[in-house]
């Protein structure tokens, strides 16, 4: 039966069966093609915009372009901070047939250390083969020349030039201009908080200190963008659109290179600070702290050996002595004290007093000694300033009392930041009852007040504060804000800063100002004056006040013997001055550490500055 059925063939039925099956199969083909086409319609027509956008996002990358940093000039247009091309030797591995051979041949031309070679090979392994990788940075001019001549031998080897900040005057402007350095995590976080991070997308460096930091936003400029087409590995195929970066503004400072050099020469081998400003505006003419350091070291990242040397140097070159050096003002504030005394009626211009060479508080045995052991004899306010009589001011300080002194001196700006346009500034200390309570948890003693009269005790100031307070004297009560910036220049257009003057101090009798200024002028012009010798023969008139600050207190009966003291404990020499005597255009404050008398070491520095100032016609 089974066999029989096997034998029977029905070709027609079988053909029919196959046709049906073939039709089913072909219908399936058509159905599945329809599904594919429907899916294509969905992708290419209905979702076209979504995929179009994603496709553009794939291929278009936005590359930020770094703006050129603004330059910095002195008042005469001399470049103080510039952008110079630094050359680096770079290799695109993809374009080099035999990397090893190329490296060997290059090493025959210029010196390539094993470390440089190693870090290069490391980068080669890490980066894409079409990226340019630096083999040696900061090439010397000679190396650049050698490589340029031989470049045809090395396909894929390029000399890349990048702009890098340089400070041609080295340490001369370190403490004013500061320097820039690589953007670090802290900088980045600050930029993010200020929502400026986008503007730094292409920037490597940022102002770290000084004017470079203070005017970062002016100097930096605005980032540009370039829209490029990239492939899947990020290689740039072509540029689609470009929006150039806008350079930063150039800064023109009121500083004068000549005055700076004068200050540097005067302080050579010494520790100290010089600041000079125009009392009419607050424009800073000289700003120098010695010793300094070379800011160029910081631009490319300072080596830890160099940095530790700076950090650990006993001369403390990193301290900006003009604004961060805090010194007892010593006798330089006697004119200020005298003005307060006149105003408070403690003394009159004709009040006389006998100076036996010391001052004693009633009922106290301790003697506050005058610098002249035998005393100045009869003194009034003029001679007390001219000869820098201590006893006169001990007495006046006690009569004024701590509260009046503290309040009045704060009006001169002591104990407060001057507001100069760099961030590195100390407020120093103008002591008061409250301050001493907070600081030492002790009441104020009258004994403390006595030495305040000669700018000792807890009182400290910065050289800049001495200069601005002296400016208030010569401006007869009006204060200025010391400003290093004179103006900015952008695309040829100069935009000057607007200087502000403020009434810091009002007096009941304006003639009191003249008393003080006359006394300061006579400090120079009369033979008894402490600065007479320093200014003898000057071709201009000027006024000033010397100071000699004790660093350690001398025991009651001991002699001050400079030779016996450790060098660091010797007196600081101070000087504040102005010129010309009438309508002054320059005020200086000078501190020279551990060199003794203000008249003998600090005043001559001022003399040199004034001499240069008038002979060179600065600020005319």
């Amino acid at each position: 039966m089974r066999r029989q059925r096997e034998a029977i063939q029905d070709p027609a039925a079988e053909a029919q069966l196959f046709k049906r099956r073939a039709l089913v199969a072909f219908s399936l083909v058509v159905l599945l093609f329809v599904i594919i086409l429907f899916n294509m319609y969905h992708l290419q027509v209905r979702s076209y915009h979504e995929y179009q956008t994603r496709s553009e996002g794939n291929r278009i990358k936005v590359v930020p372009l770094a703006p050129n940093r603004g330059l910095i000039y002195d008042r005469n247009g001399i470049l103080l901070a510039e952008n110079t091309p630094v050359h680096s030797l770079e290799i695109i591995p993809e374009q080099v047939a035999n990397l090893e051979k190329t490296l060997t041949e290059l090493a025959e031309l210029i010196e390539i250390t094993p470390e440089q070679q190693q870090s290069f090979l490391q980068d080669v392994r890490r980066q894409r083969r079409f990226n340019s990788i630096a083999l040696k940075e900061q090439l010397t001019e000679q190396e650049v020349a050698i490589l340029a001549v031989n470049q045809h031998r090395f396909p894929g080897v390029t000399l890349e030039a990048r702009l890098s900040r340089t400070y041609p005057f080295g340490d001369l402007f370190t403490h004013s201009i500061g320097y820039i350095g690589r953007i670090n995590n802290n900088d980045l976080q600050r930029l993010r908080e200020q929502e400026l991070a986008a503007n730094y997308a292409a920037s490597r460096d940022i102002g770290k200190i000084g004017l470079e930091r203070y005017y970062e936003q002016l100097l930096h400029g605005t980032v540009g963008y370039q829209e490029v087409e990239v492939n899947n590995r990020g290689r740039v195929i072509r540029t689609l659109r470009s929006d150039p970066a806008i350079s930063g503004k150039d800064l023109i400072l009121s500083l004068d290179v000549g005055l700076q050099l004068t200050a540097q020469q005067a302080l050579e081998g010494l520790r100290g600070a010089v600041v000079a400003l125009d009392p009419r505006t607050g424009a800073v003419l000289a700003f120098y702290s010695n010793p300094g350091y070379d800011p160029n070291l910081f631009v490319h990242g300072i080596s830890s050996a160099n940095y530790n040397a700076l950090l650990n140097s006993s001369d403390r070159p990193l301290i900006n002595r003009v604004t961060q050096g805090v010194y007892p003002p010593a006798s330089t504030i006697k004119p200020h004290m005298a003005l307060v005394g006149l105003e408070q009626g403690t003394i009159t211009p004709s009040t006389r007093m006998w100076d036996p060479g010391y001052y004693q508080l009633p009922n106290y045995s301790r003697r506050f000694r005058d610098w002249r052991r035998w005393g100045h004899g009869w003194v009034n306010v003029y001679s007390a300033i001219i000869q820098s009589c201590d006893t006169f001011f001990y007495d006046m300080a006690v009569k004024l009392g701590i509260d009046t002194i503290s309040d009045s001196m704060k009006q001169f700006g002591f104990g407060q930041r001057t507001g100069i346009d760099i961030h590195e500034e100390s407020a120093a200390i103008m002591p008061s009852r409250g301050w001493k309570r907070a600081r030492f948890n002790q009441p104020w003693y009258t004994g403390d007040t006595v030495s305040l009269g000669i700018g000792q005790s807890y009182w400290t100031t910065t050289p800049l504060q001495l200069a601005t307070s002296t400016a208030i004297l010569v401006n007869r009560g009006e204060s200025v804000v010391p400003t290093l910036l004179q103006g900015t220049r952008f695309q040829g257009a100069f935009d000057g800063v607007s200087y502000q003057r403020q009434q810091a101090l009002t007096v009941s009798d304006p003639s009191h100002w003249q008393v003080i200024l006359d006394a300061m002028e006579q400090t120079i012009s009369t033979q008894e004056g402490t600065a007479f010798r320093a200014f003898r023969g000057a071709s201009y008139s000027s006024g000033g006040k010397t100071g000699t600050a004790q660093i350690v207190s001398i025991a009651q009966d001991a002699e001050y013997d400079a030779d016996a003291l450790d060098e660091r404990h010797r007196d600081n020499a101070m000087y504040v001055g102005y010129a010309p005597a009438v309508d002054p255009t320059i005020v200086v404050a000078i501190v020279v550490e551990n060199t003794g008398g203000g008249g003998s070491t600090a005043a001559p520095v001022a003399r040199q500055l004034f001499d240069y100032y008038f002979s060179a016609g600065v600020n005319q």
Binding site: I8, K19, R21, I36, N39, Q44, Y48, N58
Partner: protein, 372 residues
């Protein structure tokens, strides 16, 4: 046996050389379009174009040779070749060479050879021979035996692992059984069995990379930089082509190499990006024309063996197309199947055109067969 052909039935044109003209024209049109796309997809590589042209010429020659061979000969040699192929597949697993992480190549000393390609033809021939020796529809035990003949090579190839080819070979075998008239009830039963078997496959048979492909297919956006990247970039290429495409050589996804494997498995995405939906419709029309022509040849064939072989080879060709397009457009998981006659590639092109040679043989030898 004689060669008497009646006057009215005398073959015209190329049929004298056993060439089916409409099919040849369809294939040439597709190859031409394919070359245009490949020029763009290869990044305008002269070398690649040259290689592809040589390969196409060689494959066409193979097709012509295969067309000359009588279906009778195919029927006679189906089983021996199948057995040989099976032995070689086993040999590959034992001593085969590894290329691209899979063991597919057999080194015969003078030539490197992929036995799985041979099986693409041997499996349908052998099963069709086996089934067509008896009445249609076949008995259940024959179906089962035919199924076993199909499953053994499929598993051997899947183990290499080469999921794409395994899928194609399974299709070619099962299509023979389907076209032979296996009952719908049995089909439903097998479908149920397969769906029950899927979890077993997942846990015991599939390789990790295969599982990953499936997972990625189900949700490519979860892994945009890993294995989902291919699918996402491919869909972006297709979608951004829009209706009319970005223009020849203008596809940003393909020219900038965001598209992976752009000249091989993902060449359809290049076409979609540069020629848009219009190009896609054209391509699918060409495929549909070729498949329709082949189905016609199958249904006109005069014996069951020829019908089954022709139908099976046609459907396998379709599965090629469908799996490739489904994969690159996100309808199916990524399985390494090239777009037939368009993708850049060697062995599979020759096998494909050999299949078309067999189809042409079936289409043009029927008088001779009828008289035998």
């Amino acid at each position: 046996m004689n060669d008497v052909i009646s006057e009215s039935q005398r073959p015209r044109g190329l049929a004298i050389f056993h060439i089916d003209t409409p099919l040849l024209l369809g294939l040439l049109a597709l190859m031409g379009f394919g070359l245009v796309v490949l020029y763009s997809a290869s990044g305008q590589s002269q070398a690649m174009m040259q290689a592809q042209l040589i390969r196409l010429g060689l494959a066409l020659a193979v097709m012509v040779v295969f067309a000359q061979i009588s279906p009778l000969t195919y029927k006679r040699w189906g089983l021996p070749v199948f057995v040989l192929g099976l032995l070689m597949l086993i040999a590959v697993l034992l001593v085969g060479e590894i290329g691209k992480g899979a063991q597919r190549w057999l080194n015969l000393g003078f030539v490197r050879f992929q036995p799985s390609e041979l099986m693409k033809l041997a499996v349908p021939l052998a099963i069709a021979w086996f089934i067509s020796n008896h009445n249609l529809p076949p008995k259940l035990w024959r179906l089962l035996l035919g199924f076993v003949m199909c499953v053994i090579p499929t598993l051997l190839i899947a183990k290499q692992p080469d999921l794409g080819t395994a899928l194609l070979i399974a299709t070619s075998g099962i299509m023979v059984l389907f076209l032979a008239g296996m009952s719908w009830r049995l089909i439903a039963f097998i479908a149920a069995l397969v769906s029950a078997f899927l979890p077993v496959m997942w846990f015991f048979v599939m390789h990790d990379y295969q599982k990953r492909r499936v997972l990625t297919f189900l949700n490519p956006e979860t892994d945009p930089l890993g294995s989902g990247y291919h699918i996402i970039q491919s869909k972006i290429a297709i979608g951004s082509g829009g209706l009319q495409g970005k223009g020849w050589l203008q596809g940003t996804q393909s020219q900038l190499e965001f598209l992976p494997e752009r000249h091989t498995d993902f060449i359809f995405s290049v076409l979609s990006e540069e020629f848009g939906l219009v190009g896609v419709v054209l391509l699918i029309s060409l495929y549909l024309f070729i498949i329709a022509r082949c189905m016609l040849i199958a249904s006109r064939a005069q014996d069951n063996f020829s019908k089954l072989v022709a139908g099976s080879l046609t459907m396998t060709f379709f599965v090629y197309v469908f799996v490739n397009i489904g994969m690159v457009s996100g309808l199916l998981p990524v399985v390494g199947v090239p777009l037939p006659l368009v993708s850049f590639g060697g062995t599979s092109m020759v096998t494909l055109l050999a299949a078309f040679g067999i189809l042409m043989s079936i289409g043009t030898h029927k008088r001779i067969l009828a008289s035998s």
